[in-house]
Amino acid sequence: MKENILRDADYVYHFDRELYFNRGARKVFSAEFIADHREDEITRSIEEPGTGNGWMFYANSPIPASIQQELESVLG
């Protein structure tokens, strides 16, 4: 199950912003991305190496810069 994959990888659901995030991995998945992708694709994205600095966002459509900045500030 997608939920289990995310939970096992220490992703937490952010209720207000409808996203899954992991502060250690600095990755964010939109709920829509999770809903629209297969389990193996989600696993691959989780395992993908991070950039080292800044958050990596996974979404179905491009994220406007202002939203990305706001989310980065919300997630810390």
């Binding site: 939920e3 659901y13 209720f15 207000d16 912003r17 409808e18 996203l19 939109s30 709920a31 829509e32 991305f33 979404a59 179905n60 459509s61 994220i63 406007p64 810069a65 202002s66 939203i67 706001e70 989310l71």
Partner: protein
């Protein structure tokens, strides 16, 4: 001077629209009450038909707009694009004024739905899916006939058992604790909710069957 946020601008819009929203709510409710009177008069002693209406409150309206697009799709990351304030208007919401028709048992739902359709021929059907390929409730939205207004209204025809469950669920999950918004999406509650729907539908149809067998 600090620039106004999108939320502040939407709050102003809400209170400018409020008289119109109230007008749509009372107009829609009166129309539906009148149109369902013949059914109300024929109800058996075991049957119920209740009509409820509400005006969406300001913060709920802003949150709904933050979460959904004009087309009703979920907005990714439930966020406003601060660089495009002109993209957002509460007039995009279809349920600022809404009426819910609750009936028990569910055998009356089809009859109520058919009685109301001719009143709103141009309204868009938007049934609420039950997650199993069917519909939990019939829902329609559009502009009120005979009422010049820029605010859309919505009405639903739903089993009373389901509708009352929604009231409890909504009050428990959404209203008192903002942290629980969206909780149904990832904490197993979604599955439990489906079980409740199945149980309520089983009771509804079982009850209707029993009554019908007693009559024959």
């Amino acid at each position: 001077m600090q620039e106004r946020t999108i939320e502040d601008r939407l709050r102003q819009e809400y209170f400018e629209l409020l008289p119109d929203i109230r007008r749509v709510e009372s107009h829609l409710r009166a129309l539906i009450q009148f149109q369902t009177l013949p059914i109300l008069r024929q109800l058996g002693t075991h049957e119920q038909l209740i009509i409820k209406s509400r005006v969406k409150d300001c913060e709920s309206a802003i949150n709904a707009l933050r979460r959904r697009t004009k087309e009703g799709k979920r907005r990714e990351f439930a966020s406003f694009d601060r660089n495009r304030p002109e993209d957002y208007s509460l007039l995009d919401l279809k349920d600022l004024a809404a009426v819910r028709v609750l009936a028990f048992p569910l055998t009356r739902l089809g009859e109520i739905d058919e009685a109301l359709r001719p009143l709103f021929p141009d309204w868009t059907p938007d049934p609420i899916p039950d997650g199993m390929g069917g519909a939990l409730a019939q829902k329609y939205y559009g502009f009120c006939p005979d009422l010049e207004n820029k605010v859309q209204g919505e009405y639903q025809v739903v089993s009373m058992l389901t509708g009352l469950f929604w009231e409890v669920e909504h009050a428990a999950i959404y209203k008192p604790n903002p942290d629980l918004k969206g909780a149904e999406r990832n904490s197993g509650l979604e599955e439990l909710t489906q079980e409740v729907y199945r149980a309520l539908a089983n009771f509804d149809t079982g009850f209707a069957r029993t009554i019908s067998q007693r009559k024959t």
